[in-house]
């Protein structure tokens, strides 16, 4: 079982939350989140991963207090976010819909001032902080431009700047790099790392695995509304490194072999020529099945080596097997 990291003095404590929605079309209920628990400590950068519809956004919105859980509780800096809402929201800010979180008819500076004002801060008290943020986010020259004239990347940076200006210990980011080009994605990634060095706690939901691997120290993987893995990124990579292999063949696989391999292994990539296979063995006897399929057509292995896994492979392996249950990877450790 992937261990749950022990967090001393958790800043965010999610305790057994569940949420279901009524489906209008069929009058049935959909279980979006089921008995999810985790803790996040001060200064941690945690990635929340999961396939579409896994319950990530619902979980994030429940932490923000925007959706009320059916069961369980969430405490932010020891404030119950439903019973002591204002207290909890003093310690939390969020970027939920990226550039849609902004007023497009106001300028960059006016947006920053407006959102700070809504948190009860005067324009004078945030003036210096805004100048510093504009500098840090490379938006100084755009300070007096309307948001609707900015590129999507700049709008995204501004949305993050608004959250940072709130001065809260916890920042939640839902898909911060969604829809950005590669360069801007790198800029945003660098900004997130910089914010993290300031001691803020970041909870980040993303499909962008390189961002998660680069920025986060720990990942929580949610599948079918349940937490299926919760561990340090380094631990997960080490754990799964033993199970991923690259195999080169002397001649291409036959169509039958290709079909057999794809049927047996959920985490597998075969190159277009059919002579190189990247495969993850999820059970201790998978390697024998793999060899049997190659042997059946007398395929000759030229080389076989353990590959460097990344968060994406870990994520795919876990979600492919989890079926909403917490993953057991004890077997994976035994793979030769």
């Amino acid at each position: 079982m992937l261990r749950e990291p022990k967090v001393h003095n958790p800043l965010v404590k999610v305790d057994g939350i569940s949420k279901s929605y009524a489906k209008r079309s069929s009058k049935t209920r959909v279980q979006a989140v089921q008995d999810v628990s985790f803790e996040v400590g001060a200064g941690e950068i945690v990635g929340l991963l999961g396939p579409n519809g896994a319950g990530k956004s619902t979980t994030i919105k429940m932490i923000c207090g925007l959706i009320r859980p059916d069961e369980g509780s969430i405490r932010v800096n020891d404030f119950d976010n439903q019973l002591e809402r204002a207290g909890a929201l003093n310690h939390i800010s969020a970027v939920l819909e990226g550039n849609r979180n902004l007023y497009w008819r106001l300028t960059v500076r006016e947006n920053l001032e407006y959102f700070a004002g809504n948190r009860g801060r005067s324009r004078r008290s945030v003036h210096t902080a805004i100048d510093e943020l504009l500098e840090q986010f490379n938006l100084t020259t755009k300070a007096n431009e309307l948001v609707n004239s900015l590129s999507r990347g700049m709008q995204q940076k501004l949305a993050i700047a608004v959250a940072v200006l709130a001065g809260t210990e916890v920042i939640l980011l839902d898909e911060p790099t969604l829809g950005l080009d590669v360069d801007t994605g790198y800029d945003v990634r660098a900004l997130l790392k910089e914010i993290a060095t300031q001691g803020r706690t970041i909870i980040l939901s993303s499909h962008d695995m390189p961002v998660v691997q680069d920025v986060c120290e720990r990942v929580i993987i949610i599948n079918q509304g349940r937490v299926v893995a919760d561990d340090q990124v380094s631990n997960l990579l080490r754990l799964f490194a033993t199970t991923a292999y690259s195999v080169s063949l002397a001649r291409p696989l036959t169509a039958a072999q290709r079909e057999e391999l794809e049927r047996h292994f959920s985490i597998i990539t075969i190159n277009p020529q059919g002579d190189a296979v990247s495969v993850t063995f999820e059970h201790s006897d998978d390697i024998y099945t793999f060899m049997d399929i190659l042997k059946a057509e007398r395929s000759t292995i030229e080389s076989i080596e353990r590959t460097n896994v990344n968060v994406e492979q870990v994520f795919r392996t876990i979600t492919a097997n989890a079926n909403g249950e917490k993953v057991s990877v004890e077997g994976a450790r035994d793979v030769p």
Binding site: K19, Y21, T58, K61, C64, G65, L66, I67, R68, R85, A86, G87, L89, N90, I92, S93, A94, L96, E97, R100, N101, L102, Y103, W104, R105, L106, E110, E113, Y114, F115, A116, G117, N118, R119, G120, R121, S122, R123, V162
Partner: protein, 255 residues
């Protein structure tokens, strides 16, 4: 703390009014055009004996109707607009309650409306050649009327936060507001229960009949205050109830 929320929202509304001046000017033009139609209607078809009084009542009626429409629908429009843009959830991320932010926003809109309606009122009086009475008693009267209007606005905002797409309802309800500002409250004692009817009657009396403090009894003031506080309190209670429902059903981010 709330003063900063209030300042931020008033500033936002004023920035948008100045930045989108053609929109502001079109509002002035629309209400002036409505007044002109009513004015020429009275001049052409009205009884010459009561014409002067009818024109004065029409001027006050147009101003009150415009104010009622803007304030009572205001929060509903704000909610649907924020939900469409994607900023509604951000408002809910503030430690300051959303209804307080909405009230701050509507106060900003009222200030803009006062500027706009002062221009319409001046143009209307200039066109009619009839000048209305202004008395200090109008300050508490408008204060209480606006309190009542904000209560109704919060109720409509509560509806908007759950249903979101209430644009058609908001269009139709304007006609009900016209009834509230134009039907005399003296017709039936039950009308005292409706929002702003007593206040708009008293405002009409001041501006068209030249009434002042001595003409209004303590009972009238008591009814006015009770009506304003009842609707404001009811507005907050219903908005909070709708908000709880929206949070339970996860409706804030939906449009």
């Amino acid at each position: 703390m709330y003063l900063n929320v209030l300042t931020a929202n008033i500033r936002k509304v004023i920035i948008e009014m100045v930045r989108y001046l053609p929109n502001t000017l079109s509002i002035i033009a629309t209400f002036y055009a409505i007044f002109l139609m009513l004015f020429w209607g009275i001049r052409v078809f009205g009884d010459p004996v009561t014409q002067a009084g009818n024109i004065e009542s029409t001027i006050v009626g147009v101003v009150l109707w415009s104010l009622a429409t803007m304030v009572m629908q205001g929060m509903g429009w704000q909610i649907t607009s924020e939900a469409t843009r994607g900023t509604l959830e951000q408002l809910y991320m503030s430690p300051v309650s959303a209804w307080r932010i909405l009230v701050a926003r509507i106060i900003g809109c009222i200030l803009v409306e006062i500027i706009v309606m002062s221009i319409v009122l001046f143009l209307a009086m200039l066109t009619a050649g009839q000048w209305l009475s202004f008395d200090l008693v109008l300050i508490p009267l408008f204060g209480l009327m606006l309190t009542c209007m904000m209560g109704v606005s919060l109720m409509i905002a509560g509806l908007a936060i759950v249903l979101k797409q209430i644009d058609a309802f908001l269009q139709i309800v304007q006609f009900a507001f016209f009834g509230l500002v134009s039907v005399p409250v003296t017709i039936s004692p039950w009308l005292e229960l409706l929002p702003i009817m007593r206040a708009s009657s008293m405002v009409q009396d001041v501006m068209t009949e030249g009434a002042s403090w001595p003409q209004f009894s303590l009972e009238m003031w008591a009814l006015l205050i009770a009506n304003a506080l009842m609707y404001f309190g009811l507005g907050i209670a219903l908005y909070k109830r709708a908000e709880r429902r929206a949070l339970r059903l996860g409706l804030l981010g939906q449009y």
